[in-house]
C-alpha cells in the first residue's frame, strides 16, 4: 500500500471505516496498547530544514517482510497449506497462530488458535497490533489488508473510503501497478538502521512533510519486551486459573497500601 501525503487531508475516514468494518474498539487494552488497526496522527506544524511542515501519519500494519510479531507467537504450530491465486502453486508450512502468507505477503492471525497473550503486539515496533478483550476470550487483532474484502473483489475498507484517494492499494511486485510507480517516484518505508524488518506500506510526500514524517514516526528501536515472562504467563493459563481460585491472593493487598490521596489527607 502507498499513502500519498500530498493528497491526504487528515479526515480520519480511513481509521473510522476500519473501526466500523472490523468492530475495532476505541481506547486502550489492559496492557495500555492503543486499540487500533488503522490510525491517523497529526504531525506539526513544525520547522524542518525545508521550511514549515504540517502533515499526517496515517498508519496500519506494514505486513513486513520479516515480521517481528510472527516469530514470538507461542501457540502450538500446525501445518497449513497456502495457494498462490495467480499461478495455483501451493506451499505447506508450519505456522503458529500468526504468520506471513508466502504468496500475497500479508500477515494474518488465526483467531481460533490465538492465545491472546499479546506477545505479538509487544513485539511490533509500529504498535500495529493490540489485544481485543471485548467479549469472551482475549484475541490479538490487527490489519489484515481486508483479505476478506479482497476475496470479494473489493478494495480494503480504508482505501475505498478515502475521498482524497490518498491510499493506493496494489501489487508491489507488478512493475506496471500504480503502487510500483510510486516506489519508482521515491515512496519511502518507515524504517531505519535499528528498525529494519521490511515494511510494505510506503509513504509519498514533499520534502518537508517527509522530513517531519520520518523524524517523528519511524520507531527508534525494536521493542525489547520481556517476552519470556509474557509468554510464560500465558502458557500457564490452566495453572493460573487454579492459582486464582485459591482465593488467597486477595489477602496480599493488606501489606502494601495505596498511599493516601491528597483529598484523604485533608
Amino acid at each position: 500500500m502507498i499513502i500519498d501525503l500530498e493528497k491526504c487531508v487528515g479526515c480520519h475516514a480511513c481509521a473510522i471505516a476500519c473501526r466500523a468494518e472490523w468492530e475495532v474498539p476505541t481506547g486502550k487494552d489492559s496492557a495500555q496498547r492503543e486499540r487500533r488497526r488503522n490510525w491517523v496522527l497529526r504531525l506539526g506544524p513544525s520547522k524542518t530544514p525545508q521550511g514549515m511542515a504540517s502533515t499526517y501519519y496515517p498508519g496500519l500494519c506494514n505486513h513486513c517482510d520479516k515480521p517481528a510479531c510472527v516469530d514470538v507467537c507461542p501457540a502450538d504450530k500446525v501445518e497449513a497449506t497456502f495457494t498462490d491465486p495467480k499461478s495455483g502453486a501451493t506451499k505447506t508450512m508450519q505456522v503458529a497462530a500468526t504468520w506471513k502468507d508466502p504468496f500475497n505477503g500479508t500477515v494474518q492471525i488465526d483467531k481460533e488458535r490465538c492465545l491472546g497473550c499479546g506477545a505479538c503486539a509487544d513485539a511490533c515496533p509500529y504498535s500495529a497490533r493490540y489485544v481485543n478483550e471485548e467479549g469472551g476470550e482475549p484475541k490479538a487483532d490487527k490489519c489484515t489488508f481486508c483479505v476478506e474484502r479482497l476475496a470479494q473483489g473489493l478494495e480494503p475498507a480504508c482505501v475505498q473510503t478515502c475521498l482524497a484517494r490518498a491510499r493506493i492499494f496494489g501489487d508491489l511486485s507488478d512493475p506496471n501497478s500504480e503502487v510500483a510507480k510510486y516506489v519508482q517516484k521515491g515512496a519511502v518505508k518507515l524504517e531505519n538502521a535499528k528498525v529494519k524488518i521490511g515494511p510494505n506500506v510506503r509513504y509519498y510526500a514533499n520534502k518537508r512533510d517527509m522530513h517531519l514524517l520520518t523524524t517523528t514516526s519511524i520507531p527508534k528501536t525494536m521493542p525489547q519486551a520481556n517476552l519470556r515472562r509474557t509468554i510464560m504467563a500465558r502458557m500457564l493459563k490452566p495453572a493460573m486459573d487454579q492459582v486464582k481460585n485459591l482465593g488467597m491472593l486477595g489477602l496480599a493487598g493488606v501489606v502494601i497500601a495505596k498511599g493516601l490521596s491528597e483529598d484523604d489527607k485533608q
Binding site: 487494552d29 489492559s30 496492557a31 495453572a239 486464582k244 491472593l249 502494601i256
Partner: protein, 188 residues
Amino acid sequence: MAQSTSSNMADIYRFLAQSLRYPDSSWLQAEYFSALDAFLVGLGWDAEAASIRRSISESADWLEPLQVEHTRLFVNAVPAVIAPPYGSVYLSDDGMLYGPSAEKTKLFYHEQGFDLVGEADIPDHLTFELEFLALLVEEGKSDEEEFFLAHHFRPWFPKFKARVVCETRHHFYRVIVNLIDFFTREEM
C-alpha cells in the same frame, strides 16, 4: 472470564510472595499444592513438581517440617539465620538490617503511590517487594516494574537465592526461590 497477560503476571508475583510466608494451615492446604503442581507442570518443571510431591507425600505431617525449615532459613537458626529475606542484608557492607537500600526502596514505593501498612514493617522484605511488583503490573507501569527489578530487586535476590538453594533441607524452598528467579530474571 477473559484474563489479560498482565494480570496473570500480577497473580504470579502474589502467588510467589504468598509461597514464602510462614507456612500455616490458613493457606498451605491441598489446594495450594495442587495449584503449585499445575503451575510447575505448566512451566515444564516436571522434576521440581515431582520432588515437591514426594516430600509432601512422605509423611502425614508435612506442615511441621516446612514450618521448621521456614524458621531456620528466614527467621532464626543457631548460630545465625541462614538467609534473611531482606535486601539490605545483602546490599550493605556490614549486612545491616533496614540499611540505606531499604530506605531507598521505601521511598520508591512512596513515589509510586504506595506505603507500608505497618509502621515497623521493613520495606525490603522479599514478600513486600514481590507484592509491590504485582501492584505495578496492575497499574500497567511496566517501565517502573522493569526499573524496580533492575535497581531494587535483582541486586540482592541472586545472593539470597544462592544461600537458600545451598542450605535448604526442603525441596519446597529450593523450588520457590528458583521460580522467583525465573520470573524476575533479565533475559534476551
